[in-house]
Symmetry: C2
Subunit: 377 residues, 2 copies
């Protein structure tokens, strides 16, 4: 597999030294002067410049599959805001699309697969895709990395095996996960078959992103939270752990941090903290202080402001951002270890967010965390 | 307010002695011979006889506002299954409808309010509704109670103040709660105004249901789980507690148990257990064993099978139901106190459930819990 990685030949282009490594340091629980931040879906519809590029691209897939457009929109939020990381503009469903399920995005409808996995034959035929079919993603990673020119690190990402399976079996978004849960309860061995393929595919996909220049990687388990407590470990976390085990740990002499985000994962934080990730992403339902205590700083935390806060006035945004920093508490523990906090929202930024409010957020996070850190011993 | 309760004059009709009080006993953590069960949304679209009545009624509102139809569908699941409680057939949005917001249900669209609360003037004008406008509900309660003739107890219900506020401000279901959360972060005093009115209205509404014959009441906080951790207590639980404080405790010499169900409430179980409810409903994300330990049996628990289990074969349904019973563990604690478990799903039963599978569930819950209880000292 290594020899066939389509990202490998792009690597030489992206060797500019990194000028802001605060995000990477926080991921690895190393001391920083302030709390770094980036925002899930930071390149997105709330930005007029994104909507303009999207219009030129003609469609969401036209945007996501064209490395030039993907590079353009990935960099847009960095032009406006002092964010500490860029994240590849792409979609978690590129992998099942490369498996042949036929992805499309209908206007206002969300993603849809033409050929969802609805019978045993289709499931048995599923294979890890030829990564050459995802070359547009690795080309985008290399081009973004070059365009960033060492400004901030680039995060690559993928959906978790379970979350991909949800879409692959349902064929689209769902509010009851009826088909995939029926499979889970009635024919668990078939779901395990899908998840095994997905885990191998996701690991290969992320490793190829790392080869192409991604300096950290994130697994989105967007639908882990819909599982019953006794199913989450078996059908989601076990396969995320398998991905973690297979990932490239270091590139160009530098660790490549691994982030895992389970929306609704609050009940299972102890287990998630032990899956092999360096960073655990949190939605807004659990206080950072509680999460930190439950995981005893064995991982860094990413989160966890409610994105709806950004609808309020800038002074409210700033106050709520400061509260998140204060909730995390002292970065340096009494035993000398470092906590590790990457500020983020608890979910993607809403398309209805006024772009100006994001300025207030960035200033509050950087300013307040700098003050807190310089005041602490 | 007491003199004006429209339910009061219906009470005399419904005096048949209760023949099955297992549900009420479990709610109050009193010894029982088996674990009682009922199912959220047990009178619903998965039953062909429900769909037939719904067709005759012409519309959902036609069904919900006609006491004869409401009685008919409330009793339908009891004809099929040995359930231990009936629950009033109605909708949580009857209260805001009575406040003048103009409720309708469009086919396949869910509920919609014609006049959502979108400006300060509308919020300031909001009042506790005249309960006479909800007389059809109290008439249904009295009629159902009479039709039950002491077979099993009747549960009345309402939405929580926060959950009602979500619908009242959004005007319909939502996936981001943008309007109500904007209000919460930007103008919290206006949201508190709505919640204060809602709490008074919900308490009066439930007390009138108790007057009309409801033998237990349940508050559905269906959207509590979308709140950030520091908002849940202030904007949801504080107002649920206010409702609990105002409820009639006893009727005809018998306690009227209070059930509170917060979907997604797993992170806050300790706080929910202290809100004044006798029973806390749980979704499927938290093991009963863990929930019980966290709440130290200060309340009974209701739940928590994933409704999707019912899509699998009857033997799978039975095995999963037994696992829930076993997860709760010994009803009798070492200190002699009683745990209190009401079996239920962690959410409403799906319209796609094969009705036959529910038989397997009922048999497994009753049979297995009877065996476990008779085997324990």
């Amino acid at each position: 597999m290594i020899g066939a990685r389509p990202g490998a030949d792009n690597r030489a282009m992206s060797a500019a030294p990194l000028r802001n490594d605060v995000f990477l340091r926080a991921c690895l629980r190393q001391p920083t002067d302030y709390t770094p931040l980036w925002l899930m879906r930071q390149a997105g519809r709330y930005l007029p410049e994104y909507r303009a590029t999207r219009e030129r691209a003609g469609s969401f897939m036209g945007l996501a599959t064209n490395p030039t457009f993907a590079t353009e929109v990935t960099l847009q939020p960095l032009e406006r805001y002092a964010l500490d990381a860029a994240i590849l503009f792409s979609d978690i469903l590129t992998v099942p699309d490369a498996m042949g399920l036929g992805l499309s995005f209908e206007a206002g409808e969300g993603p849809r697969f033409e050929r969802p996995l609805r019978d045993e034959a289709a499931i048995r035929a599923l294979q890890v895709p030829d990564l050459a079919r995802l070359r547009y993603v690795f080309d985008a990673v290399a081009m973004i990395r070059k365009a960033l020119d060492g400004r901030v690190p680039l995060i690559g990402f993928a959906g978790s095996p379970w979350t991909l399976a949800c879409y692959m079996v349902e064929g689209a978004g769902s509010d009851d996960y009826r088909h995939v849960k029926t499979l889970m309860y009635a024919r668990p061995e078939l779901l395990h078959q899908i998840l095994t393929i997905n885990a191998a595919a996701v690991a290969a996909y992320l490793n190829a992103q790392i080869d192409a220049g991604a300096q950290a990687v994130m697994v989105f388990d967007s639908w882990g939270g819909v599982l019953a407590h006794d199913c989450f470990a078996r059908f989601s976390l076990d396969y995320t752990r398998r991905v973690m085990d297979l990932l490239t740990r270091e590139r160009d002499g530098r660790a490549v941090p691994r982030i895992v985000f389970t929306k609704g994962g609050g009940p299972w934080l102890e287990a998630i903290a032990a899956c092999g990730a360096d960073v655990v992403g949190l939605d807004w339902t659990v206080p950072l202080r509680t999460a930190r205590a439950r995981m005893d700083d064995r991982v860094a935390l990413q989160g966890n402001l409610d994105p709806a806060v950004l609808f309020a006035a800038p002074e409210v945004v700033a106050a709520q951002a400061r509260a998140v920093i204060d909730d995390f508490g002292a970065q340096r523990r009494s035993d000398g270890r470092w906590g590790g906090h990457v500020f983020n929202l608890g979910h993607g930024i809403s398309q209805h967010t006024p772009p100006d409010h994001v300025h207030a957020l960035v200033e509050a996070v950087h300013g307040h965390s700098r003050r807190v850190l310089s005041a602490s011993p």
